[in-house]
């Protein structure tokens, strides 16, 4: 990656796959099988790849509807808190959630376009 290339968002580290990766890297560092620097590098590769793979490979869709309780836009990050949300999946299956938080960030590509 180039010198001042923007970093990727770390949003997906909190997903189950990101958490599992962190646990695995801890084990590898503790058992001296890799250096912490390599673990950091792996994690930043994860940030880049998970975003790309989710964008390219995931074809499933859903729509949802709910009451917008709170929203804010701070440091280029949108946050929406929705209540009583109904999700409609591709296969018409529906599910509900009392509270949903959506964190949305500008894609890096677009951000660059706007910044420069």
């Amino acid at each position: 990656m180039a010198a001042s290339n923007p970093q990727n968002y770390e949003l997906y580290r909190g997903t189950s796959i990101g958490i599992a990766l962190a646990d695995t890297l801890d084990d590898l560092i503790s058992s001296r099988r890799i250096e912490p620097q390599l673990a950091m590098k792996i994690m930043s590769n994860f940030d880049a790849k998970i975003a790309a793979v989710l964008g390219e490979k995931v074809k499933a869709r859903m729509s949802f509807k709910g009451h917008l309780d709170t929203y804010r836009f701070c440091d280029e990050v949108w946050t929406f808190i929705l209540k009583d949300v109904k999700f409609k999946m591709d296969n018409a299956a529906q599910t509900e959630a009392e509270r949903v938080k959506i964190v949305a960030c500008q894609t890096k590509e677009k951000q660059e376009k706007h910044d420069k």
């Binding site: 990656m1 010198a3 962190a22 890297l25 673990a39 930043s44 018409a92 376009k113």
Partner: protein, 1005 residues
């Protein structure tokens, strides 16, 4: 044994080294090749590596010369930074000298490029600062030997030098310049040395731009074209380098910007056009601001004059060669969206672009099949509508529209029609020849397009609905069913938005009062299956409209029931029946008898399948739920239950006949249908409340299902569980039974499926520890206890005790959580649910659970110590609840017993928690571990002593040498001092955990 399989003896002379390298590149025994590779790697890393590399570059064999350049790179990477200035200067001189000699000898591209990479490695690794590598290399090429490095102040002109060089020399310089930009670009800017290399690029770019200007200069022969092709590649690499590194360095970027007019000429050269289109599209997509207004004007004019004719011809011929031309137009439009949207009078910059984008959609071919461009163009239109909607919402609500909005309405309206036309499904004979990828591509296009239409609807609103309705109905008149289907598909996806707008009601009448649904319901007409299927989906989606227009309802549902009996439509029909009956339940009560008869006919038909049965029986149940009074629900409900009982009986008969597979199929479906009836019978959330009914005493409603008739219905429901006697080993059956029980839990009023808690308890009691899906049963019991733990709900002490006894029995049988982590976690979850309202069940000395209490508590501490995350987290939650003061009134003796338990288990618990914190836990467990730790610190004054003893205990696992007694005490002071502060406690625990394990505190940047 032949020579190729002979082992690799260490070489003693240069000739032997050369032969060894040659053998490395020849096919042979993989084991021997590996040995040779190892030998050569040792040589590369040896102190003689420099001399070996230098000698091998003189070889006659290109492979050996390549290996020599590689050896220089390896040496530079490993030892380059440790060279003294004199040696570094000497290495530089040798490399430049070889570069000049090899280029003049007409060296192959492979070796020359490798040597360029070696020169770049020298630039990056050498302790001697190489200030003008390109100029130095050019001077050397000019003087035909390694020249001395140019003085920084000397006025040597790169452009003049280039004029004196031959074409291969310029090409090799372009390779060097490209490699330099590429490899320096990949280097992080995180050390002073690296920063210095990046800073030097600000000087080198001047030489690179002179070189590029020379290479781009027009020479109308084959050599000139090759030079420009190489120059274009090198140029793009420099632009890619400059984008992230020089956002604040306009002077540096200016060197590259000044080359745009020259580089753009490549777009006009037929030989270079494709590469140039890809390169410029790449910059337009990812680095729009690199181009200034004047550059965009040049690009617009090139698109208009040169790209347009080629693209139009390719679209007409369905020629895939048109792809890069179309992508260029799309990228240009995307990058200039404001101009495209707001300046319709700009011919090249707006109207030509929009015209071409319409032409892309107008072109023949199906997206996903031979039409790839339409798919790509959706991205542009998304940007377009996003821009228009942004403008729409950023203006004052009562302010005037921007003048260009009218034009946008025309553009978007035209777009809707083109998209609708493009969405038409292919005839069956075409679709049959499609591969899965083509078929998926077409489906994805339709979905992407409907997403786009949702955005366009925000702007066009009712006009767009009217347009789609007119297009659909006009196609209906001419019996163009594929066009009708495309229109219905769009309307279907817009349903949620359309139904929110009250004025749309009138427009929708155009559709629902047309002959459309009569036609599709007439199975004697030849209509494509897809059209009927989409019509069915449409009815499901517009349930809320049909609900308000009861005149359409019976025909609609009758059509759907009739479709149930048509094989390929069955599933779609069942889905829409379920959706429509649930939405319009109150309007359909008069049709119940007819629907029940149609259901009976459907059951006897060939399309009767588990999925459809479950959906349709649930739909009929929803209509029954709307019948008033409760007593009138009994007979139709019993009729549905009778269907389930028939299947239950059939399952038992199959078992008796030895056909367990069929028994399971019938039995599971019977329970799933029963669950679906239960779901259909749930009172909808948005049921209207009659203010007059409030005068009616609630008791009378509540009593109905407790009365004889109500009980009888419930007994029949419970009786269906008898199928488990023959399907006890089926996890699916157990799960389906749980769904039946849960369907009543969510209800706030009594109902047929609101069964007495004893039914759930008895179901749990019939389970053994090895019952499949026992977790689902325990989870159902958890929900039962939770439902009866609300402030206004009825307490079920004896039932909770019975549930807990059963969970305790499972715990005893498991012995340790490891034996079945899933069941262990579920059992502990049951215990968690007892707090605070059923605390006495566990802690009252007179409780039947009292003798098992120690086993339960030991089991939960074992779960904390175990490796399985779920029991661990459940146990941590259990102890947190136990340590914290109860949130509901608890009898004094029970409270005392809880305190005694915490005091007795405190040291053991503190040790278990500290063992987790110093390394046994995974990082992902730490937040859960912190909870009981915070609770202990906040509510138990002796916690500090317990934690101190735990931290100094021999039972702790080995920790990193960096953590000694001092660090442990510091951690103790910190953690206790924080007094249960949630965020800081987690931070401190995470830091101590990382120190103990020798890992990083955080992976964050």
């Amino acid at each position: 044994m032949d020579s190729s399989s002979a082992g690799a003896a260490p070489p003693q002379t240069m000739d032997e080294v050369e032969r060894l390298v040659q053998r490395l590149y020849q096919p042979g025994n993989p084991r021997v090749i590996t040995q040779i590779n190892d030998q050569l790697q040792r040589l590369q890393h040896s102190s003689e590596g420099w001399q070996i590399a230098d000698a091998l570059l003189n070889s006659q064999d290109a492979n050996v010369r390549f290996f020599a350049a590689l050896t220089f790179t390896v040496k530079l990477n490993n030892d380059g930074s440790m060279l003294d200035a004199e040696t570094a200067q000497s290495v530089q001189s040798r490399l430049i000298s070889w570069f000049v000699r090899l280029v003049s000898r007409g060296e192959s591209a492979l070796v020359t490029r490798k040597l360029c990479s070696t020169l770049t490695t020298y630039y990056l690794r050498s302790p001697v600062h190489w200030k003008r590598p390109l100029l130095h290399a050019a001077l050397s090429l000019q003087s035909r030997d390694a020249a001395s490095e140019p003085d920084p102040d000397a006025s040597v002109n790169m452009a003049n030098i280039c004029k004196s060089l031959s074409m291969p020399q310029v090409v090799s310089l372009l390779w060097f310049a490209g490699t330099l930009a590429d490899e320096v670009g990949r280097m992080e800017n995180n050390t002073p040395a690296h920063a210095r290399r990046h800073a030097q690029m600000e000087v080198i770019v001047e030489d690179a731009s002179s070189l590029l200007r020379h290479a781009f200069s027009p020479v109308a022969d084959e050599a000139g074209a090759r030079l420009r092709a190489e120059a274009l590649r090198c140029y793009i690499t420099w632009v890619n380098y400059g984008q992230p590194v020089w956002p604040q360095k306009p002077d540096c970027l200016e060197y590259l910007r000044q080359l745009i007019p020259s580089a753009v000429q490549c777009l006009l050269d037929p030989e270079l056009q494709r590469d140039a289109l890809d390169s410029f599209r790449d910059i337009l997509e990812s680095y729009t601001t690199f181009f200034r207004e004047e550059h965009m004007e040049v690009l617009a004019s090139i698109i208009s004059e040169h790209v347009q004719p080629v693209l139009l011809q390719a679209l007409q011929d369905k020629d895939p060669e048109g792809l890069p031309y179309g992508q260029m137009v799309i990228a240009f439009g995307d990058a200039n969206i404001q101009q495209v949207a707001e300046q319709p009078e700009n011919i090249n910059g707006s109207s030509t672009i929009l015209k071409l984008l319409f032409d892309i959609l107008r072109a023949p071919g199906y997206p996903g099949d031979e039409d790839e461009l339409s798919i790509f163009s959706i991205e542009f239109w998304n940007t377009y509508i996003e821009y228009v909607n942004d403008m729409l919402f950023s203006k004052d609500a009562d302010g005037a529209d921007p003048p260009w909005f009218g034009y946008s309405r025309v553009v978007l309206s035209q777009l809707v029609e083109l998209l609708w036309a493009k969405m038409s499904t292919p005839p069956a004979d075409v679709a049959k020849q499609w591969t899965d990828a083509e078929s998926d591509g077409f489906k994805e296009f339709r979905l992407d397009t409907t997403d786009l239409m949702l955005s366009i609807y925000v702007f066009l609103g009712k006009d767009m609905l009217q347009q789609l309705l007119v297009l659909t109905l006009r196609s209906l008149e001419s019996r163009q069913w594929r066009a009708v289907e495309a229109g219905m598909f769009c309307l279907n996806k817009l349903a949620d938005n359309v139904l929110e707008d009250q004025p749309s009601e009138d427009l929708l009448a155009m559709l629902f009062s047309s002959s459309l649904f009569r036609d599709v319901a007439d199975f004697s007409q030849r209509i494509p299956l897809q059209a009927r299927r989409t019509a069915i989906d449409l009815l499901g989606s517009y349930g809320r409209y049909i609900e308000h227009h009861a005149e359409y309802l019976p025909d609609t549902v009758r059509f759907l029931f009739a479709s149930l009996e048509t094989g390929p439509l069955t599933n779609a029909a069942a889905k829409s029946v379920a959706s429509l009956c649930s939405t319009c339940r109150a309007s359909l009560t008069g049709e119940l008898d007819g629907f029940t008869q149609q259901y009976q006919r459907f059951l006897n038909g060939p399309t009767n399948e588990p999925y459809t049965k479950e959906k349709v029986i649930g739909a009929i149940a929803a209509i029954i739920q709307a019948i008033q009074p409760h007593s009138a629900k009994v007979q139709p409900l019993l009729a549905l239950i009778q269907y389930v009982e028939n299947d239950v009986q059939a399952a038992k008969d199959f078992t008796r006949a030895g056909d367990q597979e069929m028994a399971e199929l019938m039995g599971v479906n019977a329970l799933e249908c029963l669950g679906s009836i239960g779901k259909g019978m749930q009172v909808p959330e948005d049921v209207p409340i009659s203010i007059y009914d409030d005068d009616e005493p609630h008791v009378s409603k509540a009593n109905f299902w407790d009365g004889d008739e109500g009980r009888m219905v419930q007994q029949r429901i419970i009786g269906c569980f008898s199928v488990l006697q023959v399907l006890g080993s089926s996890g699916e059956a157990i799960e389906a039974a749980c769904q039946v029980l849960r369907s009543g839990f969510a209800e706030t009023e009594p109902g047929p499926f609101v069964l007495p808690p004893a039914v759930t308890v008895s179901f749990l009691q019939q389970c053994a520890v090895n019952t499949p899906q026992l977790e689902a049963v325990l989870s159902t019991a958890c929900i039962l206890i939770t439902q009866h733990s609300k402030s206004d709900s009825k307490r079920i002490g004896p039932d909770a005790t019975a549930v807990c006894q059963q969970a305790a029995s499972f715990i005893k049988q498991l012995g340790t959580p490891r034996n079945d982590p899933g069941v262990a976690a579920s059992c502990i979850d049951v215990l968690c649910r007892l707090l605070p309202y059923y605390t006495a069940v566990l802690f009252d000395e007179s409780s039947p659970l009292a003798p098992s209490l120690q086993t339960i508590l030991d089991f939960s501490t074992q779960a904390i110590e175990g490796q399985d995350p779920f029991p661990k987290r459940s146990a941590l939650d259990f102890w947190t609840r136990l340590i914290k003061p109860p949130t509901a009134p608890v009898q004094e003796q029970v409270l005392n017993r809880m305190r005694q338990v915490v005091t007795a288990y405190g040291p053991q618990l503190a040790l278990a928690l500290m063992r987790q914190v110093v390394g046994l836990a995974q990082r992902s467990d730490l937040d859960y571990v912190c909870e009981p730790l915070k609770a202990l610190i906040t509510h138990q004054p002796v916690t500090k002593a317990w934690l101190e003893a735990a931290l100094l205990s021999d039972s702790l696992p080995p920790v990193s040498a960096a953590v000694g007694e001092r660090e442990k005490y510091r951690f103790l002071q910190q953690i206790v001092g924080l007094r249960g502060d949630s965020r800081k406690t987690k931070e401190v625990v995470k830091e101590f955990y990382a120190a103990c394990r020798g890992t990083v505190v955080s992976y964050g940047s």
